[in-house]
């Protein structure tokens, strides 16, 4: 594990609100808060896991980082430079360093492009190299991604590959620019178990060999436990707990993190402790500001959790939790 160093990516109080419905001329639609004042630092060389259920805002976070969306407020800094609102050449320079691996390798690859053209495209976009050197770099990237020997893949098309091979092509495409930061958004949720294990190994090796920093987005605490150095648990757009993967998962604090752990399949020797923090039903949502987990939390404190929203506070070294119980 790498020693923590200066953050390569920082999110400070990032909020993103989507508006749905409403008319073209008025802003009367419903507000959906996808991210609410999220702050987190990702250190160079680490794998940071963002864990949450569907709709928690974890994918929104990745879209904000690569600039597919703009935050409503807050700052996002890469290497100390503000990246919100970057345009033109500065934006292109930034995207060279930050690449994304998407969830579904059946949709993220263009069916009409050969594997060579797919992996080569980022080089063309950024105007790197000539015909010959691009061919070398594409071959190297394929090899890095475990598609060996690369020559046998260059002329093939996505439909001729399995799901695992396609995801390796997506990884090669992301790595061909030698980025410093990779966002992997549920990269294995469409893959079979044994294949996804190989992809985890590959991601781990990319970090060890190339020192690439990674934001790993997942719904699986087990995946986060096994791959990540640090994790953040996100619920309804808020970061509820953050810490090292070992500490957060073996000694969780937030009732929601505990509920996620309780829900993990248990069998054989990995029968773990039962926390029982989840209510059977659900309380009505209070009108006032409240803890996002209040409606489902068995441990909620009356007149506190339903009246105020907790903020993230530090407990010990690098373990932070957003809960009034602490």
């Amino acid at each position: 594990m790498n020693t923590p160093s200066a953050p390569i990516l920082s999110l400070t109080d990032v909020t993103k609100v989507y508006r749905s419905g409403g008319s073209l001329f008025g802003k009367t639609g419903t507000r959906i808060v996808a991210l609410e004042r999220i702050s987190l630092d990702i250190n160079a060389g680490e794998i940071f896991g963002l864990v949450g259920e569907s709709g928690s805002g974890k994918t929104t976070a990745s879209r904000l980082i690569v600039g597919l969306e703009t935050p409503d407020s807050g700052r996002i800094q890469f290497d100390g430079r503000e990246i919100v609102g970057l345009k033109g050449r500065a934006r292109r320079e930034f995207t060279k360093h930050v690449q994304v691996i998407f969830q579904d390798p059946y949709q993220s690859l263009n069916a009409h492009l050969s594997i060579f053209d797919t992996v080569c495209e980022p080089l063309v976009i950024h105007g790197i190299g000539d015909r010959r050197s691009r061919r070398v770099r594409v071959s190297e990237a394929l090899e890095t991604a475990g598609l060996t020997p690369p020559e046998t893949y260059l002329a093939r098309y996505p439909h001729q590959l399995s799901g695992g091979q396609r995801q390796r092509v997506a990884i090669a495409r992301a790595m061909v620019l030698e980025p410093r930061f990779l966002i992997a958004d549920e990269p294995t949720s469409m893959l079979d178990a044994s294949i996804s294990f190989q992809i985890f190994r590959l991601l781990n090796r990319l970090r060890e060999t190339f020192g690439v920093t990674m934001l790993f987005i997942t719904h699986s605490l087990a995946a986060a436990r096994n791959l990540c150095d640090r994790v953040g648990v996100i619920y309804r757009g808020r970061l509820v707990e953050q810490g090292t993967a070992a500490e957060t998962i073996m000694h969780p604090l937030h009732p929601y993190t505990k509920a996620l752990l309780d829900a993990h399949p248990r069998f054989g020797s990995c029968k773990h402790k039962e926390y029982d923090t989840l209510l059977d039903g659900e309380r009505p949502h209070p009108e006032t500001d409240h803890c996002p987990f209040y409606p489902r939390c068995r441990l909620a404190i009356d007149n506190t959790c339903n009246r105020h929203a907790p903020t993230l506070k530090s407990l010990g070294t690098d373990h932070r939790v957003s809960c009034f119980l602490f």
Binding site: E53, S54, G146, D192, A193, S194, I195, S196, F197, Q198, F200, R201, L202, N204, R205, E208, H219, S220, L221, A222, A223, R225, N226, L227, A245, A246, I249, M250, A259, L260, L261, D262, A263, H264, P265, R266, F267, G268, S269, C270, H272, L278
Partner: protein, 277 residues
Amino acid sequence: MTMALLEVDNLSIGYRTDSGIHLAVDGVSFRVDRGESLGIVGESGCGKTTIGMALMGLSAPNAKRISGKIRLEGQDLTALSDERMRQIRWRRISMIFQSAMNALNPVHRVRDQITEAIITHEPGLSSHAVAHRTRSLFELVKIPASRLQDYPHQFSGGMRQRVIIAMALACNPSLIIADEPTTALDVIVQNQILSAIGSFQKEMNLGMVFISHDLAVVADVCTHIGVMHAGRLVEYGRQQEVLDCPGHPYTRLLVGSLLTLSDQPADLSDIYKNRRL
């Protein structure tokens, strides 16, 4: 040996394609008794759903049973006519489908969909008895009776899956086939559905065939595990034995790929020892 609830003997099923018959299930045998649950795991395309559909007598039109027998309490289902099979299906053997989003009819109230299932298969029942059973089914799957009048789109994914479970139980079957019943659900909801399935399976002493790609889920729910690979059942035994001493290399690969929450994270770094990354 006593008569098994379900006995599958040397079942082979192929699909007719333009280039001849493609074998999807190759000589599979297993048995399930009352109170037991057999989890069939395997990757996509290994033939596990083909088995589930064959058990229900709902095989695709181009599927062809090449050999084998399926016996439910001694009665050979493969020898039955479509009409006789229809009488057995849902009453003695029923199914929880994968996609809760699509398995319900969006233009009918959920109550009507359940009562329809009951009336179709048990036409003799009085309307009072049907209404009573519908209510108790909702109680069983923990949906408030006040939601009976709702349409499927008013339900969350987890609640829709509960409705699907209630439908599968509507006619008191003795065997349930569950095909990836929690695949599209979030972890917490998945856990709630799995414990619901587990508890009625035990309480009602049902036999269950649970089909899944996820060994962790199967290990959580099932008493027995069958591992399929390329149409064959490569390993089959009690849950504990399969997990603790997997015999077949493919099972070892699957068990080795299980990510757990243990103190010691899996070793992701020993890549150089392996031929393929």
